[in-house]
Amino acid sequence: MGILPEIQNVANQRIVEVLVSKLRRRQLVGSRQTAIETVLVLRQVVAKARFSNIEQLIQIIKAVGRRLVQAQPKGVYPSPVYSFPVHSIGLLNASAFVSLPYPEHTVGNTVRKVLHHVREEYHAVSRAGPSTQTQKSSFLISKFVSQGQPRKQTLAAPKSEARTTSLRENDPDDPDSFAKGLKPVLMEAIQDVLDELETVYDNVSKSARDHIHSDEIVLTIGHSKTVESFLKAAAHYRNYTVIVAESAPSFGGHEMARSLSSAGISTFLVPDSSIYALMSRVNKCILGAHAILANGGMFAITGSLLAVSAAQAHSTPVVVCAGQFKLTPLWNLYHEYGALDFADPSSVLGFEEGSLVDKVDVVNPYFDYVGPELINVYITNDGDHPPSSVYRLIKESYDDEDHEL
């Protein structure tokens, strides 16, 4: 477990293990933070890695990715602390509910993104002559659907002039030349990914003033940093009201309300029970996502499904703000609900309830699954997209062979 054969470099292994233990201990808070740390680790790994052809590099990165993803097991197994007698409720037939951290999909997403960029750079660099073919009028919709956007190869052409000839894979005399030649380009690519991550909040908030109008009443749930920066950015231009539903039992809404009201936005903090009651006055529902799935649906904090359904009942538009690093090439086929991950039940029914603890099952899921038909638009750092085009974004950001790390 600690020793990855693909990474012969001891220093790299140490870096990876540090991140692994941070993930396990929940020392990383927030999807974006996790993504940034992952990119930094990958950058160091690539910088110190030794490889003589592209496949080796990809294997190294994939191995690191697998290790990181495995550091946060998703699933249920008996927990020694909370031993509730369980009576199965249909599909929720786990043997006991655990208090494990939910998996951060962003780790896997970041690894996939880095792999995608690595491959792209490699293809750009190693394509000597035939980089001129793209000017043919081959823009067919069928090709578009199967291949995604035409790759931006021509941009890389001038950079690669000096290097195309010197890149030789698997050179027996000089095994490091390939790596040496490719690394600077890779470093830039990885830096791009890092830059994108660091400017996520700013980019998402760019379109804030177009989405929120004067005197609107906006509903949000819990605490999403992306939504927070979006609303604060809009507050510079518009005067509007926000209703924040504290989301029990994590009560993230309190933090959100505190932060928004300090920014001068008039805020109402309400319990989740009044979402339907207030929805008739709400103009927009703005939510955050934990992960955006391949079909355009999303995993979001519990309570999102309620809010989104209530919004649909009132024909209120639902807007989701998320960075592109949350796009995940996963599906949620077998479960209508996202409740495979559960949180600590004592925040719902604590031990102070005494005798009840033994007799009662407590369900405290982390996430809801919200289907694509309930969402109107995703506002990402790369623009606004309807849920029906999420599949295309995934095709463009990740490579097919990376879906399974």
């Binding site: 249909g90 009201t241 505190r258 903090l269 989740d272 339907y276 519990t302 209530a310 009662v360």
Partner: protein, 454 residues
Amino acid sequence: MSSAAGPPPEDAGQSSAPPGTPPVKSQKQMTKAERREIQERQRAAKAEKAAQNQSKNPGKSSNKPAQTSKESAPAPRKVSKPAEAAPRGAQGAAGQSKDTKTGGEDKPAHTRGLRIFSHFGLPKPTSHKGEVHPAIVRLGLQFSEFKITGANARCIATLTSFKTVIQDYVTPPNNTLSRHLMTYLSPQISYLVNVRPMSVTMGNAIRQLKLDISGTDIDLPEQDAKDALCGKIDTYIRDRIIAADQVIEETAGNKIKDGDAILTYARSSVVEKVLLAAYADGKEFTVTVVDSRPMLEGKKLLKVLSSAGIQCTYLLLPAVGSVITEISMVLVGAHSLHSNGAVFSRAGTALVAMMAKQHSVPVVVCCETYKFSETVQLDSFARNELAPLELFKSFPRNNEEDSSSLGDRPNLQILNPLYDLTPPSSITAVVTEVGVIPPSSISSIPLALGRTIL
């Protein structure tokens, strides 16, 4: 706007704008000093203009300090007097918005927000305790501290207290019981309403009581009349509540089959009785109790059910989406039923009913007929009640300091509406003592009871 807490810092040019419009954007970015400067300049300009006019404006400008102090007095009552606020705001829009510029920019948040929710009842400071019977005072205290909650409980408690009041009542000379008792009871009733807005059940019961009082035979000796009234009250409770509940237990119990997974929300006394009766009948089923802040009443129901031996699951409202696919029936109670078939019930019921309907789970509302109200209510804003903040700080694990610091921030309001309206489209059937009724036929309940009013 007259709701005195203060107005948005309006520009002079926007005098004709209705109160509560957003201030010019740049104001937010200026420092406080700059804003004060602008306000001073505008005030001076207005004072000049006002000096020329002969309209009410000069009166207002010069009396500004007096007026703001007068207006700040009603400030604590502004939530309960929205009707005055609106016309006052409309008339004095021009003068008012300039006058009340003394408020800082945190005030606009309050004013604008409270305009939307201002008609929700908040408990008012009580007065005129002198005329109020001690039993009623005690009842009022129990209501205001939410020791007695729930439509049925409140109604029964109210009627019981009124029995005490009636027994203690002495008809003054030259008056008849049937006429004077009503005037004697009125301040008691308004005291209770001040403490907490009247529930529909209390309203119906009191209306019935008034009818009985005015129908009292004048020739009866006083004690007999009082006893007769108390007897009628007892009959009312027995027939419309207790007996009705028994019929509902049986009818709804027939809907529960072995192996059912039943979901209920918060705590309804009727649903509790139904579930206990069905379990005592030997039916095998599991119950999922969904609960929510601010009242967390579901825990009480949970205790009762699990001590009876029913297998229960407990979860908070946001998690409903995850379990609804496993549920076979949703059983909820109601605060009141309306003619259009809508059910007014504890906040959160609408969400549960909506989710259930989306997953084709039948939603059954258990409700006695005396909860019927002829009014038609369109949404949760028409009448609602806000829970007082001090009572509901039951954050289980978070630090107490966090939650208390939320209360005194500018721009931040905490709202706890207690009720919401479930539209008839989300309800499958209503079980009453006169039968199982689809929501569209609710308006025929009075006819079913053989009377034109309840």
